[in-house]
Symmetry: C3
Subunit: 438 residues, 3 copies
Amino acid sequence: MLTAEENALLTQTGPGAPMGNVFRSYWTPTLLSRELPEPDCAPVRVKLMGEDFLAFRDSNGRVGVVEPRCPHRGANLFFGRNEECGLRCVYHGWKFDVEGNCIDMPSAKPHQDFKHKVRAKAYRAAEKAGIVWVYMGAAKKPPALPGFEILDVPEDEINLTFIMRECNYLQALEGEIDTSHFGFLHAGHVDPDNVDEDAPLRQTITDRAPEYHVSDAPWGTQYAGYRASGADQTYWRFANFLFPFWTQAPNGEFGSHMHARAWVPLDDTHTMFVFIWWKKAVAANSQPQPTFKDGTPIGGTGRLDELLPNSTDWLGRFRMPANAGNDWHIDREAQRNNTNYTGIEGVHLQDQAITESMGGIVDHDLEHLAPSDLMITRTRRRMLIALRALRDTGELPPGAEDPSIYRGARSGYMLTDGLDHKAWQNVYDTEFAAAAHP
Amino acid sequence: MLTAEENALLTQTGPGAPMGNVFRSYWTPTLLSRELPEPDCAPVRVKLMGEDFLAFRDSNGRVGVVEPRCPHRGANLFFGRNEECGLRCVYHGWKFDVEGNCIDMPSAKPHQDFKHKVRAKAYRAAEKAGIVWVYMGAAKKPPALPGFEILDVPEDEINLTFIMRECNYLQALEGEIDTSHFGFLHAGHVDPDNVDEDAPLRQTITDRAPEYHVSDAPWGTQYAGYRASGADQTYWRFANFLFPFWTQAPNGEFGSHMHARAWVPLDDTHTMFVFIWWKKAVAANSQPQPTFKDGTPIGGTGRLDELLPNSTDWLGRFRMPANAGNDWHIDREAQRNNTNYTGIEGVHLQDQAITESMGGIVDHDLEHLAPSDLMITRTRRRMLIALRALRDTGELPPGAEDPSIYRGARSGYMLTDGLDHKAWQNVYDTEFAAAAHP
Amino acid sequence: MLTAEENALLTQTGPGAPMGNVFRSYWTPTLLSRELPEPDCAPVRVKLMGEDFLAFRDSNGRVGVVEPRCPHRGANLFFGRNEECGLRCVYHGWKFDVEGNCIDMPSAKPHQDFKHKVRAKAYRAAEKAGIVWVYMGAAKKPPALPGFEILDVPEDEINLTFIMRECNYLQALEGEIDTSHFGFLHAGHVDPDNVDEDAPLRQTITDRAPEYHVSDAPWGTQYAGYRASGADQTYWRFANFLFPFWTQAPNGEFGSHMHARAWVPLDDTHTMFVFIWWKKAVAANSQPQPTFKDGTPIGGTGRLDELLPNSTDWLGRFRMPANAGNDWHIDREAQRNNTNYTGIEGVHLQDQAITESMGGIVDHDLEHLAPSDLMITRTRRRMLIALRALRDTGELPPGAEDPSIYRGARSGYMLTDGLDHKAWQNVYDTEFAAAAHP
């Protein structure tokens, strides 16, 4: 169990917070590139780890990420003019480039000009795979982008989904490394004695109490949930936590499956779920879980509500219409009739609802963790070690300096012959070697 | 006058507050039984003295009152499945019975199961007279329900009204033990020189400054307001404060009148008015006060707005559409024309508006109390003595151990011959003995 | 630059704050007289420097300004009956006159009456020029009203505009004594090389970096912005800050121009702009700035949105429909096409938007002030000196005792022959003497 102090350490990500500093050691996926559709388009308000920024694309197509307040008198640069390679404050015309340099100060006579002494706070931005990445750290030379395989896939084979979740990143992330909820939250309404032998994921239903192997991994932590499948096979579900806020969940067949999922704190009670996934992966074509929309499989995220239109508010991007204020559109009749275990529609919304239902920041120190929560326990410990190492000795957390460690990480499910589960890491290595790679 | 410290002592009812502990020594009327209409129906969010609960009715019809957070990982049990004698968390399937015991832990293998070590916080519930009562105290064996006569009346002769008031319980309650406002707030527009001699309650108008007797009573405090009625009669209005949050107001003829009114803190700025009243009481058929609706007398509460539909929010039950945000629909023209003293419609809403208008918690230490506020002063003193006794010596407050003390309490108005008012308690005893009793 | 402590001293105006005490040394323009249209009309909720009041007009037409809570038990006098020369609480009928005296206590018998001991807190009110003025200070004999020339103009020659601004008074006020933003915020879209030689205000565009003279003045501070106009003329813009929250801006020709603009704190994040201006002034008939509405010049405030209807809320008066919540209806296309520099419509709304965009209270200690901000720097210093003098020695601030100092203050623009700018105060004196005076 966590102490209240550890709970605070793990959940707080603002400027100066130890976990905030861990997160700031990496590039953070922040916007879809298409949110800044063309040079000199309108800036976008972005909140990241409790800090407010404007993202804009300059005349040359470069992305800038700057604080919203003009250093002159504090007017808001959101209303600025994005023109001629800079964002110009409309109050007195001061202009700032993507690096935050003041490059024009027209309200001053030439002999009074002191623009070289003025800077807007700015963070470095990069674009890859249709995503704007932001580096908020202190390093003069930022690290490379994380080396996920999925980021090397041709861009037209990548799907991107952003969805805001209204809770702390940690409780959102922990839902991802917890295979034991699958048979309840998503499929608890299915009768385990009456599952078609060919149904995908049937093992999550016929045995709802899997056992686990959990260990540290170069990128963070890894688990394998395993169950017997019939008399002589083992059904595996591998998943990863990857520093600082990434997960890979077993929502596809291991061999074809490639993705990365980030749980990015906007502030400590709002998290952006960033899902980068391979269109050609073989998804869990798994009746009876509701991963179909109008008859069409839509991948591992379940049936998504249409998102609300983005607004210009700091927290106005990629919101679901079902939320705490409307009880996530729970259908009590469906719940009672057992046509849907929760009465909440779709795998993604079920995860969203249950983690948001815990409140903004769950009191992790009040929990009663079970053996099925072993991956969570291990991951928290790994996070605490990393944040204390950075705080106390300056040691950078895993992958911050060597983004190639992400390359070895995969998730997914698979069947193997036999019931021996001890050599689980060999199973992983063998399957990884055999899998398709970009 | 109160000190600021006494003000805080009297108005704060959360966990650990001295007055909160007084209140937790009793059963609290909390829901209408029909809010939980059938076994395994949806749970209801309930706030009580600053604590959040779920009320649910299990498969056997028993009512449970449990904390909303699942002890496992903090998911909200409001979204749980109410099935097979327990509320089951939809995250990992843990199930809790009406006493908070964890009775199923299906995500754990049998050898890992530790359900006997897990409990959700739960309070005892009982049902009587169409009401769900909750005991939040620490006693192993809770007391009996309060012994109000009205609770022994056949259930089909009882009317129940719940209305939320958006202010502290104390200022709401004090409006009930203050007969002097009647001739102003509710009937100030009536010309005292032009009241029909047969009009009920005419004495509250012809003499708007009654005198009072006030004393302690076994159940709390009692007052008799008295005025001369004509040359040779005395018009009495008897009312009670009864521990911990009950009142009996003189809104009916003493002989036939039977009711109990509770002012239950949901939190320190929201109060549930719970009105239990006898359908066969002779109501104040009293023109010109607006106790008629479409020609039909509707008892002592005046003309009630239709309530808003209950929502599932913690504070979403039994709200009036007229509220602070719309100035309680005040009609300035009616106020100016003197067709309605306040311009606010109906006795209940007038009381609601004036006490809510004081703000969430009135600063009782800023008041200028008058002789007509003697009952209020006496009641506060009695409450302070009781809360200090419990806090300092553990002595339980009046009626907590002996609920029969409520049986002797009645309110109402009456006329007696003569103008002698000294033997007021004899008047009470004589009328009480002569009154109808269930 | 300011320290954080000076920032707090300058921006906080509540009871007991040093700047609050400066402001309370003067009469404050608070309501339009027509907000209280007739004797015994409904009271109006007013917030002023963080305090809540009710303004009402009694049966004799006198205006009262009293605290909203009834001294008896705290009921809200907003719901009171305004009748027979007083505001009567509808709870128990206590009545208060415009001076706060309790003049009736009908719930008490004559021998119990203690109304002479009860007072509602009240402030003195006066009416002049269509405005209700309030004096919140401690002086037994309040000062005279400020001696602005405009207040002596016949009432039918005066225009009054009230508009609420959602930010601290200081950042609102400072936009007024900052001529350098004119050529950007309001006219930045105009090509300086292509301005008609006869266009009014053309100098603000052809030379966007004016130079300044700034000095203390009897009423506060004064600046003259000056630029060459052609080869042999000087274009001047004179403006004033006048204690405690007044400005005079150069939005008219000096000779005919007469006005006073107040920035009255409702609380520390809401300010009422009060604009008192002379209908016969020659306004800046100045294409291309958008001071025309449907072809009709509408004075110096630019194109005003229609105001929202006043509500009865404490902050519900004179609100613009364009506000932070809707990005002040910014038109990004107009901004990009350069048909409007900001994309925000009208001079007033541009000022409103840019100062509100800074947030409730700007961190003045984070600014980078430029030479063009000299008037702002000087004014803050003058304010700090005055508030410290009052705080530390009780010395009243400028004009509090001698309101005649305002009479010498004028603002406006003008052309003079020659390019010598040193004798700027002679220019002012000469023009002031030659100007029309009421």
